[in-house]
């Protein structure tokens, strides 16, 4: 494979074809009365067709673009940890309740990129959890989840 565009175009080709195939399931209707699957089919085919265009276009480009390792620089493990924390936060939100769950999340996030002192971390996490509770629950009247502790 020549470059990153070719790689990504293959993924889009698969996605486009999958959409097109599944659209048939919902009924395509006829041209004079299009069914629920009609426009999804067209969008799927468009994605697949355009993906092919991107794929073959790369052969006609001057060869300066190569496959790049997009994750060689930077700290991608941090990204994974942040993401993991967010997923965990979402899963535990209804069980732990907003304040407690948020406290844990912020504490973790404050430690994850540049470890700060625990004193600052705990104060920051408490401040963020309490502050956002006051703003969103008490002032803007959002209904944040209560959790098993009741707050």
């Amino acid at each position: 494979m020549k470059n990153n565009d070719q790689r990504s175009s293959i993924i889009w080709l698969v996605i486009g074809l999958a959409i097109a195939v599944y659209s048939g399931k919902y009924g395509l209707g006829s041209m004079s009365s299009p069914g629920p699957g009609f426009l999804p089919l067209i969008s799927g085919l468009a994605i697949a067709g355009l993906a092919l265009v991107v794929f073959f276009q790369q052969f006609f480009k001057p060869g300066r673009e190569k496959i790049k390792d997009l994750w060689q620089h930077g700290k991608w493990p941090t990204v994974l940890m942040v993401l993991g924390a967010l997923v965990l936060y979402t899963l535990l939100l209804n069980f732990l309740g907003f304040i407690f769950d948020t406290f844990l999340l912020i504490a973790f996030l404050l430690r994850v990129t540049e470890p700060m002192s625990w004193k600052k971390v705990l104060a920051g996490a408490f401040g963020a959890a309490a502050g956002s509770y006051v703003i969103f629950e008490l002032w803007l009247q959002a209904q944040l989840p209560k959790g098993f502790l009741g707050f």
Partner: protein, 503 residues
Amino acid sequence: MDIFSSVLLGFQVALQPMNLFFCFIGVLIGTLVGVLPGLGPVAAMSLLLPSTFHISPVSAIIMLAGIYYGAMYGGSTTSILVNIPGEAASVVTCLDGYQMARKGRAGPALGIAAFGSFIAGTLSIVGLMFLAPPLAEGALKFGPPEYFSLMLLGLIILTFLAGGSMPKALIMAAFGLFLGLIGMDIMTATPRFNFGLYFLNDGVGLVPVVMGLFGISEVLLNVEAVIKQDVFKTRIKGLLPNLKDWKDSAWPIIRGSVIGFFLGILPGGGAVISSFVSYAVEKKISRHPEKFGTGVIEGVAGPESANNAATGGAFIPLFTLGIPSNAVTAMLLGALVIYGMQPGPMLISQHPDLFWGAVTSMYIGNIMLLVLNLPLIGLWVKILKIPYPVLFPLILLFCLIGVYSLNNNTGEIGLMLFFGVLGYVMKKFNYEAAPLVLALVLGPMMENALRQSLIMSNGGAGIFFTRPISLVIMLVVMTLLVLPLIPWVKKKREIVAEISEDE
């Protein structure tokens, strides 16, 4: 109702204390998110959308619009002081603005950006006032085929202007269209592509998608890179540009306003591209083009005026046709629908208080911004000094709360995280998110228009090419699709893509 009494009505609405307050909150938050790198107006608007359900639609729209043009003001501050554009539309401002700051002229640069934005913003509102009502009347003649063609045109223009690969931008548009079709089919009530998740029957929500693509993904990219903020150390003194600065900037501001306004009207056009065009024009007609990039004030005044004028222009297709032209107006359209308004040509006549109130509030908001920006620059600089490791947990927290409180559903947080990862990977592979968002909003409207057109014509696709207005639009669409293949245009587009990648 003639225009004078309409404006009077508008001011009556906009000057109500409640609306003044929300206008102020809007421009304040807008400037703040404009200043903060990694949090833009789209994310901020989707964040505040749920909390606007408690206030009147007019106040809500006034506030949300304030965020939009406020962010354009704020974005310039970071470009000039830190060389980090707070908004994509301020990328060009970095070129000369930051150089001015390095020469000790940060004050006049910030000052002319604020004054230029004010003048351009005001001019574009005048344009909006005079152009929108007659256009809305013309739009009443539009049937489903015209609407379909026009929405298609909007998508195509956006992908054409996207910079970078047009086929890739079109893929994003097609994928966004598909996402817009997820959920219950309007005509047959068949649930489509819900992947067993029942909340998807209502469709893929705009807010989780936008927060994911613009909020979460941006944070992930920044956490990976850990941006170093290097705020300019010198004291900022003398914000007022001197007489020579004014003389140099007067025409660039006026030209920038005109360019911005008309590019803003184009569905799919907007602030980013108009700032680039304005910079290019100023450089071309300047008597000393070689000085551009070394800190000339025209290079700040033109683009900053253009991106503000574009915000006014962008409201025209929204208020007259009910068609959003970019991600921000797509958010506003979503908001209007939630408040139970029917966006379209009838909006101005059915809800004159909303339209004229919102428009006149922009005058007031522009004055507030001028007053706000000049003395508060010191405060914005302080905010810029907050280190990113402290800032990003808060941005994430706001996104989480914003999406959750929309429907009190953790499923939507999951959806946001999914789009966050998608946006992160897409940015790595150089795919643009804006066409996806616009297509997501247009999706259901386009499907409706397409089906109605085909039913009208008994299945003949020719209906898009036999009705005159639709035919003209379709010809423009085809021209835009073919243009990038022409070598001269191709080269121009590549240059623009390179500049925007350098940010």
